[in-house]
Amino acid sequence: MVAETAKKFQALESQAQTLMSVFTDAGYEAVAPAVIQPADVFLDVIGETLRARTYVFTDPDGDELCLRPDLTVPTCRLHLARDTMPEQRARYCYNGAAFRFQPILDSPSHPSEFRQAGIETFGGTSKEKDEVETVSTVLTSLKAAGLQDIKLRIGDLGLFAALLEAADMPERWRQRLQRHFWRPEAFRNELKRLSADQPVALKNLPDDLMRALKDANPMEAEQSVSDYLAESGIDFIGVRTPMEIAECLLTMIEDQNADPLPTDTAALIESYVGVSAPARAAGARLRDLTRSHDIDLSAALDVYHQRLDLLQEAGIDVVHTDFAAEFGRSLEYYTGFVFEAYAPSLAEDIPIAGGGRYDNLLQAAGAENAIPAVGAAIHTERLLAAVANEAGPHGAEGEGQ
């Protein structure tokens, strides 16, 4: 965006004040984390894909820094830097600029520099209550900013984890499916691979090494790997040890010899991922689905329904809230409940606000232990555009999409 008009600047400023006063009235402490962040911490948490969209630069001292691509990680860092007891419950709110490179050209709905207003709750003990409070505070603030028609979409990555836990398979397969959940295509391929009758052969591994590794314990396998490398004249370079390589080879062999994932289980996982329905109906559908596959998911589903009840008690329109099992796949750091608010006056695929639970993020940002965390952020330029669209062409400022 080249520049903005003074009028739009003022509109954004006054909207931010409205949002922030809803947050602070609800008890969230206003903070202003640094715009410039150490690239290292950030990139480790968000991964290379978002890095491609992050403005990374080197300062004159040679340190690698970045312009924050969101305010969640900076708020986590701020919390850890100032709080000697980071696991105690703390609630923060913020409003500030975030920066993301837009591969083609930036557009009003996807600017490379935008303002985020948001809230974070760290260290709470009653997870569902904190999640509902987050949704409810965000929806209240959107209404306070003048948005009338708001739709809600939810997902629950905890359900998926519970489903994998309940299904019978080796632990490393669970971890693998969990890891691939973020990448739909890789996930489908992995599922196909695990349930195939004929697992992919370990081609290109020399027969004598394969024989040596058969039924070997890790120590023996390490020796076989070292011997093989020495005999073949392959230099040992890099930080990985022969033991690491031996262990990975043993895992591969183990996978090859394991019974394939029952097609029934694979089908259940596929059907789970495909569930998309109004929130209550989706819960019922998941119960039926798991029951017919003789898998007990009731504890996780009870939590799901309990959360819906809490949402309803908070005055949120649960009847018109949609659930999608796949939802939450785009941002890797979420670990549980996720939600998105969008305005029909803008577009369904452009969320105005979104958030969820990310219980691993604080630890990744430097905390000693995992600390529960839930938060949400509002894309304030989009909110302003959606409110203007609702007002119609003669509204305050006819900001198009």
């Binding site: 480790d44 991964g47 295509e185 890789a186 090494l209 370079i237 990985r240 690491e244 990975c248």
Partner: protein, 232 residues
């Protein structure tokens, strides 16, 4: 509005020799103006064309911003330096020289890693053992990211390397590399092997036109003359 066409050709090495050869075979003699170590030239008989001798990577940038109308450079450099290449340039012709592959290479001693999927599989155990993601040394940051993203690999870190990339795994500054290779000999000599499905791009020298340059009718005419001679 400019009336002159700027043609950017590589300023040194085999790539320059082969580019000049290509033109002279087509009856277009490129000669330098003034000092023989200078960087400006012309095509005999085409007085509306300026030739600029620039480094191969600079050519990609000049085409991107429209400072050059036409240029000869490797596809790898174009794809690396222009994230939306299809909107900024047109590839007019593959020139049949300057062949090189951009590949992923890992230490030969990684017997358990033969494919990109194996690499992804290894990332979790690597992090558990070393407390960090594995590092990929490369000067092709964008090509690497796009390739890994398309294969669903996200758990790695890139370290930018501007020279002697193939030595970084042995030196310990990176764990594997994405680099350019023609015969694979340098990789082998450094104890590396190419992953079975690790070819990111088969690159060669290309004749490329800028879409953002100022294309006046006179410039178009000059382009047509060059293209006709080259048989593009």
């Amino acid at each position: 509005m400019t009336d002159r066409l700027t043609l950017a050709v590589p300023s040194k090495g085999r790539l320059m020799e082969q580019a000049l050869e290509l033109f002279s075979e087509a009856g277009l003699n490129i000669k330098k103006i003034g000092h023989s170590r200078g960087y400006r030239g012309e095509i005999e008989g085409l007085d509306t064309v300026d030739v600029a001798f620039v480094s191969a990577s600079e050519i990609a940038w000049q085409l991107k911003v429209g400072r050059a109308h036409l240029g000869i450079t490797g596809e790898d450099l174009i794809r690396e330096q222009i994230t939306d290449a299809q909107n900024r340039v047109s590839f007019l012709k593959k020139l049949g020289f300057g062949h090189a592959d951009v590949v992923i290479a890992v230490p030969k001693c990684w017997l358990d890693v033969r494919t990109v999927a194996d690499l992804d599989e290894m990332s979790a155990s690597f992090r558990a053992a070393h407390g960090r993601w594995f590092r990929v040394a490369t000067k092709y940051m964008n090509l690497s990211r796009a390739f890994f993203a398309s294969r669903g690999v996200n758990d790695y870190r890139i370290v930018e390397s501007l020279g002697a990339t193939e030595g970084t795994p042995a030196a310990g500054t990176a764990d594997l590399i994405v680099d350019i290779t023609t015969t694979g000999e340098t990789l082998k000599a450094n104890g590396l092997k190419i992953l079975e499905d690790g070819v990111i791009l088969n690159s060669q020298a290309n004749f490329v036109a800028s879409k953002s340059a100022d294309w006046s009718p006179r410039v178009r005419e000059a382009q047509n003359q060059i293209m006709q001679a080259l048989g593009v």
